[in-house]
């Protein structure tokens, strides 16, 4: 058929021509042998429309063509497409539906090209739905709305079959679901309402049934645990498969909703069974060290909002219980031994706590991905049992003793440098859990001073190393005194050299004895009571000489002599052979008395030495009732009493040429606790004043809270203690109670 350019095309004529084009297209779509459209075909069809639209009225047929465009689809659909769909079911229906859909899209594409001119002017001018939309709407209203339920049910049935392990045609499902998506023309409403909702409900029902099949209740513990482990594994698998399902054919927006559904059915509903039950839950996994399964449990419950809270809680309870068991063990062991405390049992306790910490930290990193909830659980668990008293010792003291053992010569730890560093590192980490950090500091300082002054420190580097770690963890103020102590010793050595030089430079001043003096800076070292020991003349002379020397160095400092810390090497001339005795200064002073008298009574010795009874008894005991009996005591009882008398034991001998006679150390614990309590009172005072100075007016509860917060780095202040300090400060006119509100305090400048 040819076209006359100038002639007006009547509607009948023009439409008839278009129809033939449409019929051709349909034949192609139906798969009949029909050649493709040539470019001429296309141009002619397009131009026909063009002309019919641009003709002058009344021959401007845009509206009619628009309507007929739609009718073309309607006719084809009702005559051919719908019947073909209606007689098919299930998967066959789905296949047909996909075919028809794809065909329809082609039809829309072609026809909209032919009719394109309508899109350009008529449609936009009248704000009508475009050709594309009209075409799709036809499909939607005539086909989709009719078959959507059938299609949906068929898809869901296939999904369930796939869940049961069957292989299904995923591509088909993807294509079907694409229809649900595309039919929305930009909106997901159809997909969600017509498919997704039901799919989700069905999935929930499916997994709910499955879960009930798998959850085992009230069976033997072993079986329950195994069932539980399998269940977790199964749950993880299901989630993985559902995710896969989404990736392959469901729309991606379904993923979060679907997974949540599955999680709820499999995990949330049964969470108490999975987590809290004694034999199947988290507790059992921890008890049996099921690391992999714990990791799985973590992965699964991580995705559930607040899902990890019960897991972390059970973890905390478990670790706490293990810790308390260790405390109990140590207590039991200690009560079985009648002798002194602070022994190896308590050291073993610290070591076991370290091991416990290591073990469960691995859990935190390996099973629980270092999640903050689990770090918090560890912290809270350890804070519970690390602050319990074990066999009369606070944990602060135990920890300090543990360090002392590592750092002192001949300590119970004989480890490599690396191992020592690692252990020290772990000990410092444990300190974080102890609330009485200041108590630890004081015990540590006491023991450090012993190590330093009696040359018992095994390794200087280790000493400095732990101080560095403590500084990092607790701040510079924590370690400043300790560092001062270590520095003092270095300086003391220098000082000694200078003293030697001074002596050699002044040959007429000679102490007559080899003398080493260690000068300590008072503030750094623990307080020692200085006694009024009457020195033997030989020592008196030394002290004077040193005093003169020290005056040449500095005039502004006062020396206080702590003889209780001194050591003396002296040669005792026994009958069989002379033996060198290494004793404390007190002991030396006592022994030297026997150079002038053979026999002395207790009271005579006391008068001459000017020592208190407790010191005197201790030292005489070490010389007469202990391993080496340098003095003979009369009467020969086990303990020293004030009515005893002593005589030099010239018959004493030993196979060694040199023996050490140490004084048993005094129990420091009481003094340390007293000192720390005193320091705490000052610290609380200072904190209260600091807070009130800046706030001017503050309520009681708020003040207490801030005070606790400020001091928490060093210790946990007793609530009553704070109240007492507040009252004390009121009496000292630092604060006053508000007249109107007795719960309010005001700072008095």
């Amino acid at each position: 058929m040819t076209m006359s350019q100038m002639k007006t095309i009547e509607l009948e004529e023009g439409w008839s021509f278009m129809q033939s084009g449409i019929r051709k297209l349909i034949r192609i779509l139906e798969g009949e042998p029909e050649p493709q459209f040539s470019s001429d075909d296309y141009i002619m069809l397009y131009t026909t429309i063009y002309n019919m639209c641009t003709q002058k009225p009344p021959h401007d047929y845009s509206q009619q063509l628009y309507d007929k465009y739609k009718e073309a689809f309607e006719e084809y659909i009702s005559s051919t497409v719908l019947p073909s769909l209606r007689d098919k079911h299930d998967e066959f229906m789905l296949t047909e539906l996909v075919k028809r859909w794809l065909n329809h899209k082609i039809m829309v594409r072609w026809l909209s090209r032919f009719f394109h001119y309508l899109d350009r002017y008529f449609i936009s001018r009248r704000s009508l739905p475009g050709l594309n939309e009209v075409g799709l709407t036809c499909f939607r209203d005539m086909i989709y709305q009719e078959v959507k339920h059938k299609a949906r049910d068929a898809v869901i049935a296939l999904i369930d079959r796939e869940r049961e392990g069957e292989q299904i045609n995923r591509a088909l499902l993807k294509n079907i679901l694409d229809i649900f998506v595309e039919i929305g023309m930009g909106q997901m409403d159809y997909y969600e309402n017509d498919f997704e909702d039901n799919m989700l409900k069905d999935s929930a029902a499916y997994y709910s049934r499955k879960a009930l099949n798998w959850i085992v209740e009230d069976s033997c513990p072993d079986y329950m645990l195994k069932a539980s482990l399998f269940y977790l594994y199964y749950a993880e698998e299901c989630l993985r498969k559902e995710k896969d399902r989404v990736a392959h054919y469901l729309h991606s927006s379904s993923e979060p909703k679907l997974l949540e559904n599955v999680q709820t059915q499999l995990l949330v509903i049964h969470s108490s069974q999975l987590l809290e039950k004694e034999h199947s839950g988290c507790r059992a996994l921890l008890r049996d060290d099921k690391v992999e399964d714990l990791s799985r449990m973590y992965r699964l419950f991580f995705k559930i909002p607040k899902g990890l809270d019960p897991v972390a809680n059970i973890f905390k309870q478990h670790v706490t219980a293990e810790g308390i068991a260790l405390v109990q063990q140590a207590e039991d062991a200690a009560s079985n031994r009648a002798d002194k405390e602070g022994g190896p049992q308590e050291q073993a306790f610290v070591r076991k706590v370290i091991e416990l910490h290591d073990k469960y930290m691995v859990y935190v990193s390996d099973c629980f991905s270092n999640h903050s909830l689990f770090h918090k659980a560890m912290k809270e668990a350890f804070e519970v049992f690390c602050n319990k008293v074990v066999a009369g010792c606070s944990s602060a003291e135990l920890l300090a003793s543990f360090c002392d053992n590592i750092l002192k010569k001949g300590g119970s730890e004989k480890l490599s440098d690396e191992a020592i560093e690692e252990t020290l590192d772990k000990v410092v980490k444990l300190l974080a859990y102890i609330s009485d950090k200041d108590l630890f500091a004081e015990f540590y300082r006491k023991k450090l001073s012993r190590r330093l002054l009696f040359d018992k420190s095994a390794n200087d580097d280790h000493e400095r190393l732990i101080l560095t770690k403590l500084k990092q963890q607790c701040g510079a103020q924590f370690t400043s005194k300790m560092e001062g102590m270590v520095t003092d010793l270095t300086l003391a050595k220098e000082n000694q050299t200078n003293f030697q030089e001074y002596l050699s430079g002044n040959p007429n001043i000679s102490p007559g004895i080899e003398l080493t003096v260690t000068v300590l800076t008072t503030g750094y070292w623990p307080s020692y009571k200085s006694s009024e020991l009457s020195l033997p003349i030989e020592m008196e002379k030394c002290v004077e000489i040193f005093k003169c020397f020290y005056q040449t160095k500095t005039k502004h400092r006062k020396l206080t002599w702590i003889y209780s810390l001194g050591t003396c090497n002296m040669i005792a001339k026994f009958d069989s052979k002379p033996i060198e005795l290494i004793v404390g200064t007190y002991q030396a002073a006592a022994l030297l008395l026997f150079n002038t008298s053979n026999k002395l009574s207790y009271s005579e010795i006391k008068t001459q030495l000017n020592l208190a009874d407790d010191d005197l008894v201790r030292l005489l005991h070490s010389l007469s009732c202990a391993k080496y009996k340098i003095l003979i005591k009369e009467p020969n009882s086990r303990t020293v009493s004030t009515t005893d008398s002593f005589e030099f034991n010239s018959k004493f001998t030993d196979r060694m040429r040199r023996i050490r006679i140490p004084l048993p150390p005094v129990d420091e614990r009481k003094k340390v606790v007293e000192d720390v309590d005193k320091d705490r009172r000052y610290a609380i005072d200072a904190s209260i004043v600091r807070i009130m100075k800046s706030r001017k007016v503050l309520g009681h509860q708020q003040l207490v809270m801030e005070c606790v917060e400020q001091l928490s780095r060093m210790f946990k202040p007793d609530f009553k203690a704070i109240k007492k300090r507040i009252e004390d400060l009121i009496t000292r006119d630092y604060l006053e109670r508000d007249k109107e509100n007795p719960n309010l305090f005001k700072y008095l400048a």
Binding site: K724, E727, R737
Partner: protein, 213 residues
């Protein structure tokens, strides 16, 4: 024209001057000449004239009315202040005024002031801020005994038994009065140790509760 003097209103004019004169005279009848004040002996004498024991709380109330500063002594100024306010210029009138004085003191609005005065009155040394336990026990009994017998007895028992505190300061003293007024006794159901009650009261409550169980 001078107003006729009535029992209620203050005296004015000639009547007033006469009254003041008599008040002064009364003062001088008890005064210790060497110090110029009424001393403990004088007070005792006054008490026997009033037929009131010198440990009676009404004497303390009288001291309060006078705003007497030093325990056991009344100065002329204080004497004038007190008796003028009481409209008493003879011992007979003074004695008659005592019941009304007591009523006045026990009025809620005045009692706090009297209560804190009682404490201050016992601070005999300069810079003294606290009072020993035994004296506090007596003072509590005297001042609060009639109003809060149960609380006072219990607290006094506690004070004598405990060893934490050897003295009581003003803050604790006032705290106890507030305690008696606000806290239900003996159940202490509305007592909250987390509030700013003095620590000694926290301990007291604990002690009573422990004793009870």
């Amino acid at each position: 024209m001078p107003r006729a003097s009535s029992k209620k209103g203050p005296a004015t004019g000639k009547a007033a001057t006469k009254e003041l004169e008599r008040i002064d005279q009364l003062f001088y009848s008890y005064v210790n000449n060497s110090c110029g004040m009424i001393d403990p002996e004088g007070i005792e004498s006054l008490c026997s004239d009033l037929e009131v024991d010198h440990t009676d709380v009404r004497i303390l109330m009288l001291a309060w009315k006078m705003q007497a500063e030093k325990q056991g002594y009344f100065t002329l100024e204080e004497w004038r202040r007190g008796l003028k306010a009481l409209r008493a210029d003879t011992t007979a009138k003074l004695k008659k005024a005592l019941p009304d004085l007591e009523k006045e003191v026990r009025r809620q609005s005045n009692f706090v002031d009297f209560y804190s005065y009682a404490f201050r009155y016992c601070l005999t040394e300069e810079k003294q801020k606290s009072i020993d336990i035994e004296s506090i026990c007596e003072l509590l009994d005297l001042v609060l005994g009639s109003q809060f017998r149960a609380q006072v007895d219990s607290f006094v028992q506690y004070l004598r038994m405990q060893i934490d505190y050897k003295v009581i300061n003003m803050d604790q003293w006032m705290g106890f009065y507030r305690f008696c007024n606000e806290i239900s006794f003996p159940d202490f159901s509305n007592y909250d140790a987390e509030l700013a009650w003095p620590l000694i009261l926290d301990n007291f409550v604990e002690w009573v509760r422990a004793k009870r169980s």
